[in-house]
């Protein structure tokens, strides 16, 4: 029956994960009614907390026999409504699967459970001079299982690449409880790149219960530069020329005027000038001997793009201050408006100046504040539309503006999401970038892993029975 778990099933689930491993009461379920995108909310029928692969297998095997849909969840920091379960579904949370199983510093690999927090892995391998490069903004809270599901990026992915580059093996439990192992360092297997396919599958294929990742040696040094611009488009131009000149910063981030104001009025103030239209945070890392030359060349590009002020961090403390505005931007926006719609389109870098101008025009035409803070080096935009959900007129304008922004990005040769995933939020935009045949191909691939269609149903692929042309 929808909305309640049969007593017999509850008993069986508790026999697998223990009495405290199942949440059923409404008050406690409220904590699981949304992920980081709070525009979508619904309560799951129950939340189950397995502790290892075997328990996940037993839980899924049990639920599949009852034909109950399953929604996996890590820390719930996702921004696409991907970890949202309705009252017919059971949420399988990986937060108790938080052990780092092995660290092999000789081979620079680690085996972790999916509930391990991203930043905790880097902390654990730090004594070996290693780190885990993907660094989503939520890295102090988000889990590696969630990162695998979303193929997460982060500011430093410009140089180091996204999650899929670092995941080399996975143990997966599919809906019927089958345990399969894919990939693994030190061996070349036949067959297809299932690890690559699984990363970014948003929990629609199964649950990754063990994840083998590769690690990198910590860079010897880093230098950070902050460039201030009077015009957002000029900052975009600087990004284009820096990359076109062959420079490869570890990170290249833009914070626009509205975001600067929000940050500077908050406890996270980093000393950015509030009358500026854009700040560009640029970081180089690697062998110390090469950093100054890169910073000098970058400074020239910023000046030629009309930067009005350029400063570099001379110490680790100064570096942290320069990053403050970027890293705390999302948190600071709560000061401006109660609600925030974060977009995630990616465009070719050379189109940034034009796309930014058009986003600004769209915001103005709908009388909305659009604050941009994004991974400029990757062309990965995060236009944040600020609004108040209690104002129906404003909500309608947000939806219209959002669609127009997506259309502009796709028209520029981009895509609808660079790192947040499709989830529920971007289902209606999938037809902008994929043909029906491509979506059908995704659907049949899902069916191979999940014939019943009960793993995180309703996410990623829009309803193909509808005409979406």
């Amino acid at each position: 029956m929808p909305g309640s778990l049969a007593k017999s099933l509850e008993k069986k689930l508790k026999s697998i994960v223990g009495e405290t491993g199942v949440i059923l009461d409404r008050d406690r379920l409220l904590a699981y009614e949304s992920d980081g995108l709070t525009a979508y909310r619904s309560l799951p029928m129950a939340v189950v907390f397995p502790r290892d692969t075997i328990e996940v297998s037993k839980v899924l095997g049990l639920l599949s026999k009852e034909d109950i849909p399953v929604v996996p969840r890590g820390a719930g920091t996702g921004l696409s409504g991907g970890a949202l379960a309705d009252d017919r579904s059971v949420m399988v949370a990986t937060s108790l699967m938080n052990r780092i199983l092995t660290i092999d510093s000789d081979n620079r690999i680690a085996l972790v459970q999916p509930g391990v927090i991203n930043a905790d892995l880097t902390e654990a391998v730090s004594p070996f001079g290693l780190y885990y490069p993907p660094d989503p903004s939520s890295q102090s809270a988000c889990t590696l299982g969630g990162n695998v599901a979303e193929n997460s990026g982060g500011p430093h992915c410009l140089k180091y690449g996204v999650t899929s580059r670092y995941v080399i093996g996975i143990t997966v439990v599919t809906y019927d409880g089958t345990i399969s192992r894919f990939g693994g360092f030190g061996r070349e297997l036949g067959g297809y790149d299932i690890v690559g396919l699984f990363v970014g599958s948003e929990g629609c294929f199964g649950i990754a219960t063990e994840i083998e990742v590769c690690l990198l040696p910590k860079p010897e040094g880093a230098q950070t530069l902050l460039a201030i611009f009077d015009r957002l488009e000029d900052a975009g131009k600087a990004v284009t020329t820096i990359i076109a000149d062959g420079l490869l910063p570890a990170a290249l981030e833009i914070i626009d005027g509205p975001t600067i104001k929000a940050v500077e009025e908050s406890i996270y103030a980093g000393g950015y000038p509030t009358d500026a239209e854009a700040a560009l945070v640029i970081e180089f890392d690697g062998i110390k001997a090469g950093l100054s030359a890169d910073i000098e060349r970058t400074t020239v590009h910023c000046r030629e793009a009309n930067a009005r002020d350029i400063s570099t961090a001379e110490s680790e403390k100064e570096r942290e201050v320069l990053w403050q505005g970027r890293k705390k931007a999302f948190g600071a926006m709560g000061r401006i408006a109660p609600d925030l719609l974060v977009q995630d389109a990616t465009v070719p870098r050379s189109t940034l100046p034009d796309v930014l101008r058009r986003i600004s025009e769209i915001g103005q035409s709908y009388k909305l504040v659009v604050a941009n803070v994004f991974h400029a080096g990757d062309g990965n935009l995060h236009p944040n539309i600020l609004f108040d959900r209690s104002d129906p007129d404003e909500v309608e304008r947000v939806e219209l503006a959002s669609k127009e922004i997506m259309a502009v990005c796709v028209e520029a040769g981009g895509t609808i999401t660079g790192e947040h995933g499709v989830g529920l939020d971007k289902l209606s935009y999938m037809s902008l970038v994929h043909s029906r045949e491509e979506l059908e191909a995704m659907q049949v691939v899902k069916r191979v892993f999940d014939p019943k269609g009960n793993m995180n149903p309703g996410k990623v692929i829009p309803d193909l029975s509808e005409d979406f042309s």
């Binding site: 000789d106 690449g161 297997l189 790149d193 000149d245 110390k288 050379s350």
Partner: protein, 437 residues
């Protein structure tokens, strides 16, 4: 013309189809096709596959023909789809560091095209330097540069895939971050043409290196060289490639007389100097030679092309830290080599991945050789797999590959792989046995 060739010629044009003696040189692991068809565009590729699906013709795509001897032998081949006519660059955006090209374009031509504009493609797949970009992606072939720049899958932004039943799917795009839907692009990369034919590709370019430097370190024996290579690959210095090379024969002459380790650095001069210093300090060794520019490149060109003309190529792997153990395991293989051939066996190891390539110039075809070889290879695979490693026969006589298998068994995930293959190629015309076994 035979009936398949005639059918295809009627649908396309006579110019685009050959059969009979003209198909010599297009044998796939010694299986001669009935026809070789050369489409001019992606629509024709889709048309050919659609026809083949309806008729049940087994098709194998080919770029420059460099991988036709590789992989597991197909049961039969009716049509080779030769992509040579499809070699046009359709978009090049230097400011955005990407290029879109048809897949028949040679990697050498593509590299020159980018280099002329100060950009670079960090691909060095083993084999001839003129292999096609399509084959490189289709086989996911990675060479020495994967240590510093990653594998092909890390550089491919998008492809067009003509599926077995003739659908054209655009997978990925032309931006560096893209999570709009399931990553079918990764599935296509390394699928050996068993999910479809890649017709175009968008690949990420890099700024061309300003300095090419190679440090050569001598090992006193193979094990010590393997340990040295491993130690260098674990140093905190950033390098483009670390390879251990040996002839496997102590009596060999010249530079290959003793095993050595080649470290490639593609960084500006001050950084290259610092990396050189760090490596020497951390491994307590001094290079016996430091090469720059073309000389540096030549060493790695040689490493890239070592497999050419070898009768058999094996790829053995264990964890990188076990590289010297891995080398020890290969001693038995020397008995399989024709003793009358110079440099009968050569080895090259990617220190950062732990993959050891073994090139056997000519097999010793003494009495009972087939059984002995099959037994040795099967034993070796068993040993490596029991330690979490693997053995791949990258190329070799089809009769031996058929017995031993190009790759190890997939085990419990075989059905899942088959299920995926069937969805892209419902009539199974794309020789799925080449990868699934």
């Amino acid at each position: 013309m035979n009936s398949i060739a005639e059918f295809l010629a009627n649908k396309l044009s006579k110019r685009q189809v050959v059969d009979g003696s003209h198909t010599e040189g297009w044998a796939v692991c010694n299986r001669f096709p009935h026809a070789v068809v050369s489409p001019d565009n992606e629509t024709q590729v889709a048309q050919i596959l659609s026809l083949a699906s309806a008729e049940g013709w087994v098709c194998v795509p080919s770029g420059k023909g460099t991988w036709l001897k590789g992989g597991h032998p197909p049961k039969a081949v009716d049509v080779v789809i030769n992509m040579a006519n499809m070699d046009h660059v359709s978009a090049y955006e230097p400011d955005d560091l990407f290029i879109t090209t048809e897949t028949g374009l040679g990697l050498d031509i593509l590299s020159r095209y980018a280099l002329d504009r100060g950009q670079w493609l960090p691909f060095d797949p083993p084999g001839v330097k003129g292999g096609s970009i399509g084959a490189t992606i289709s086989t996911a072939s990675a060479g020495s540069l994967q240590a510093g720049f990653g594998r092909p899958r890390d550089h491919i932004l998008g492809v067009t895939l003509a599926t077995g039943d003739g659908r054209l799917l655009r997978l990925g795009g032309k931006v560096v971050k893209n999570v709009a839907g399931f990553d079918l692009l990764k599935l296509a990369i390394g699928s050996w043409g068993t999910l479809g034919v890649l017709t175009s590709v968008t690949v990420r370019l890099h700024p061309a290196p300003v300095l090419d430097r190679t440090l050569l370190f001598q090992g006193t024996d193979v094990s010590s060289a393997a340990r040295l290579a491993n130690a260098i690959s674990r140093s905190r210095a950033s390098f483009a490639a670390v390879e251990m090379i040996t002839s496997g024969e102590q009596e060999d002459k010249g530079i290959y007389s003793l095993p050595f380790v080649a470290v490639r650095i593609l960084e500006p001069l001050p950084v290259a100097e610092e990396i050189t210093r760090i490596i020497c300090e951390q491994v307590h060794a001094t290079p016996f030679m430091c090469l720059e520019g073309k000389d540096s490149q030549l060493i790695f060109d040689d490493i890239q092309t070592m497999e050419n003309n070898a009768e058999m190529v094996l790829r053995l792997s264990l964890l990188p830290s076990k590289l010297s153990n891995l080398v020890e395991r290969t001693k038995e293989l020397r008995e399989l080599v024709d003793p009358n051939v110079d440099r009968g066996i050569r080895m090259a190891a990617h220190a950062s991945t732990g993959v050891l390539r073994i090139m056997i110039a000519r097999l010793n075809r003494r009495k009972g050789w087939l059984e002995m070889l099959a037994s040795s290879l099967s034993n070796l695979r068993y040993l490596l797999e029991s330690e979490g490693g693997s053995m791949v026969i990258s190329q070799g006589p089809p009769e031996i590959v058929e017995i031993v298998g190009a790759r190890g068994k997939l085990g419990s995930v075989t059905e899942l792989m088959r299920g995926l293959q069937k969805e892209f190629d419902p009539s199974s015309i794309l020789a799925p046995e080449r990868i699934i076994g």
